[in-house]
Point group: C2
Chain length 520, copies 2
């Protein structure tokens, strides 16, 4: 693939961070966590959970089921964070449905798959817990009201050695989130507060333990700010005491314009992600400040299959993954040439797209294919893509080239060589596997031609705070748990190593959420 180059336009102005003089004195920008001797608690609970996604609700449900009084703080106006817009796929190693359909699986096989995807740097002891407790966690979620498609053959997700994924009834995380939130709220003494922003931990008088949190009620997230965490001063300050402990389940930071760019300067500030707007790093950074250990924080999984022409995840991932990328090509609009194996792993493809986008941030590559490249089951997505304009249809390659300002002759030559190479049974320059044993040219020159502009979108942040197998947050000062502090889900790091496998987010969040709720 093409080498990384730099253009002056592209020189990253991260230094500007230090010059943001216009930033207000945000109430969560305090230098050190307050001590209980310095605050007056407004309310008191056994457990305070920060975040209402999969991890937060699993933790809250388990703690509440144990009879504890639980308060869940959610900064956004709606419950469920990123989980509620998740696809609802839960990898359950060695589950009952696999057994019923004769699929042999084991915790070891799951760990092997995760280590391969994670480039060998996963924390194996965490994967062991998921491997051992996923089915039990699944059953707990069902007990709390979550609705899954059970009794069917599990779904086979990329990177897994076997089909081990069970999908929710409505193929959305909402089928887990909504019942679990209701499960907690109906238990005595439990409460879920939306629009309540966690600001900081409250520490014991000796500074060693977490005993509560500082937060702001009636707060409204402002997505127009460069950093809501640093700049938004809205809401009314309140202090909540946690008699048993605080569970940090604040999620990842794929939409944190400042922090994600520090880790990967290729991600422009105005670049969209597949995540909801509230996916920011603020709560995680506060944990680092009381001694939590940062692990793997720069591994940001980015989807090379996304489009800049729609918000969030959208339909482009389906239209490319099960469509244009399979038999079609992705080309650099500046020269009409291919620049990657359209079926390579996510990171390889996102890296290849960034090489182009760093040279010219407006030169989004274009994926091109014909009707027959689309899998039959995505017909509805093809329709939706065309309706919303994310995908466009052209009768001729000339019309397509004109629309995206691709040199037409070069584009035609690219496709001609691509077709001829495949028909000759030769390996193409990028060694694409899906071109083997084709009976006809992969791109049908009769047309019509379909095209989608491409843009990598941050999808999952692998890193976060280090927890042990009891979901206790480990202190960098002592090597021991920080008393009173637990964490689970995307805010933790280590479990997935360099790259999370599909359908393992729910597994991680629900299992360690439950573990946190057991141990708090």
């Amino acid at each position: 693939m093409k080498q990384e180059t730099v253009s002056r336009r592209d020189a990253l102005k991260l230094g500007a961070l230090g010059l943001a003089g216009a930033m207000m004195a945000a109430t969560n920008a305090m230098a050190a966590a307050p001590k209980e001797t310095e605050v007056k608690f407004d309310e008191e609970y056994d457990v305070i959970v920060i975040g209402s996604g999969f991890a937060g609700l699993a933790a809250a449900s388990k703690a509440a089921e144990r009879g504890l009084k639980v308060l869940i703080l959610e900064k956004m106006g709606r419950v469920g964070g990123n989980s509620v817009i998740n696809g609802g796929a839960f990898a359950v190693p060695n589950n009952r449905d696999q057994q019923q359909f004769g699929i042999k699986d084991s915790a070891d096989l799951f760990i092997k798959d995760a280590l391969k995807a994670g480039l060998g740097i996963n924390h194996v002891e965490m994967l062991e817990v998921i491997g051992k407790r996923a089915q039990e966690t699944f059953d707990f979620a069902v007990k709390c009201g979550a609705k899954f498609q059970t009794g069917k053959k599990p779904t086979w997700f990329g990177g897994h050695s076997v089909a081990r994924t069970i999908v929710t009834e409505n193929m959305s995380g909402s089928a887990i989130i909504q019942p679990m939130a209701a499960f907690v709220e109906k238990l005595p003494g439990c409460k879920l507060m939306t629009r309540t922003k966690f600001d900081d931990f409250v520490m014991s008088a000796d500074g060693e333990s977490v005993v509560g949190v500082a937060a702001r009620e009636n707060y409204r997230f402002n997505k127009k700010l460069l950093s809501d965490d640093m700049e938004n001063t809205g809401g009314t300050k309140k202090f909540f005491k946690a008699r048993k402990g605080v569970i940090l389940a604040s999620g990842g930071f794929s939409m944190d314009k400042v922090y994600r760019k520090l880790q990967d300067p290729r991600i422009a500030e105005d670049q969209d992600a597949t995540n909801h707007d509230g996916a920011t790093a603020g709560a995680m950074l506060k944990a680092f400040q009381i001694g939590a250990l940062p692990v793997h924080i720069d591994w940001i999984q980015q989807g090379p299959w996304a489009s800049p022409d729609e918000r969030g995840f959208g339909v482009a991932p389906l239209l490319t993954q099960q469509g244009l990328f399979v038999l079609g090509v992705a080309v650099d609009v500046r020269n009409g040439k291919r620049f990657m194996n359209e079926m390579a792993d996510r990171k390889t493809r996102a890296d290849a797209e960034y090489v182009i986008l760093r040279e010219d941030p407006k030169a989004n590559p274009v994926a091109i294919g014909t009707e027959k490249t689309f899998a039959p089951q995505i017909a509805h997505a093809v329709e939706k893509g065309l309706q919303t304009g994310v995908m466009k249809k052209f009768d001729t390659l000339d019309a397509l080239a004109a629309n995206y300002k691709i040199p037409a002759a070069a584009l035609k030559e690219t496709i001609k060589v691509y077709n001829e190479t495949a028909m000759a049974g030769k390996e193409d320059e990028f060694k694409k596997q899906t071109l083997k044993n084709l009976k006809e040219a992969p791109i049908d020159m009769k047309g019509p031609f379909y095209a989608i502009r491409l843009q990598p979108k941050p999808h999952h942040t692998m890193g976060g705070v280090k927890i042990n197998t009891k979901a206790q947050v480990i202190s960098g000062n002592t090597g021991k748990p920080i008393p009173g502090l637990f964490a689970a889900g995307e805010v933790t790091g280590g479990t997935h190593g360099a790259s999370r496998l599909g359908s393992c987010a729910i597994a991680d969040c629900l299992v360690f959420g439950m573990v946190a709720g057991e141990n708090v």
Copy 2:
């Protein structure tokens, strides 16, 4: 290359961190940085520098030259940290010696090289400063007494597009460290204290600014501890006031048995590194706790060319890089087969070695070759390697195989195929470039045969705290500099991205050390 697998023996017991009940209440294990209102300062300086390596001494020299009273704290018994055992190679983009010898270079070309090695995630604004100020920094080091081989054609280091590296007179960092330490110490009011361990920052009463440090005099680093930072309580507590600021130049953490393993669980606790024993994460973690932003902390550069049969860097890197790897093979001792391109990049090779070592931590791969693989200029190293026993010499492949318990028949078959493939002008299975156009078999079957056991060794930690182009440490709470805190060198992250180029450590440390000394 072979896929990652997991063995039960290998399951990482990072959870045990949380169970280290035997750990003592170390004085640097405090939960929060003290405020000036809580301490009594013992001594007062303008500037306090933490660490006496390249970055620390450049910062101290520049500040001292400006007339400031500077205190340098060094925890070890000798000055210079890792820098004093460094090879003394300084990449100076577009330097005078290049110009004299007609080598065309530019800051842009340097940035392009660094971005390629860094996988595109480098913070370009930091590279720009190095590109712009390296020659000036070089001149400043010379002014302070550093001795370089100037007036010669610069050296060409791997990954650089041109020869741009100038080496010290004695090919060691000591030719920079010793004169610069003397330069500072002879200036009025300046002091360098060895065996003085930084424990924490002292903050202003409002908690917003760094105004001094807590440290321990008469401290002795204890390399037998799992974590000296967490467990060593030795020394006498002292508080030092810094009127102008504190400069953190505490280096990397390649020898931090706990923290490096959190980031890369493949690195065993007892695994050696190329670094000195004091290369630990403690001071960096304290900076995270007052709001410094962690960047790229899990990118640990590991040398695949090192041997477990000697301490530190040793002679193996020379004997493999300019010897056995070039024409010889590296084999898996369990099956006698090759498992990597012996000339691939560092990360690819270290990853391939770890695949084997995770399956069996004692199955160190062995590099094998014959006399003619060694470059003539490393004859002294060949002699030293044989003398110390790092490299062994065998008359026959049978004797070699017996010594390392390699299946002899399989080993001979591997070498037969390797030689035949090269002689047939075919590409070998790993596409090794150095086998092209050979006139005779790469491995001379007459023998004698030379062999070295291999073990990846941590060499440089790319990540650390985020600084801006003025070497100010940026706060995650405000996005602005933390008043009174500067940092430079290996303790900072972002500049090198995912992987540092050879001879860019001195460039980074001296340039940003000087910048910190200018701005404090």
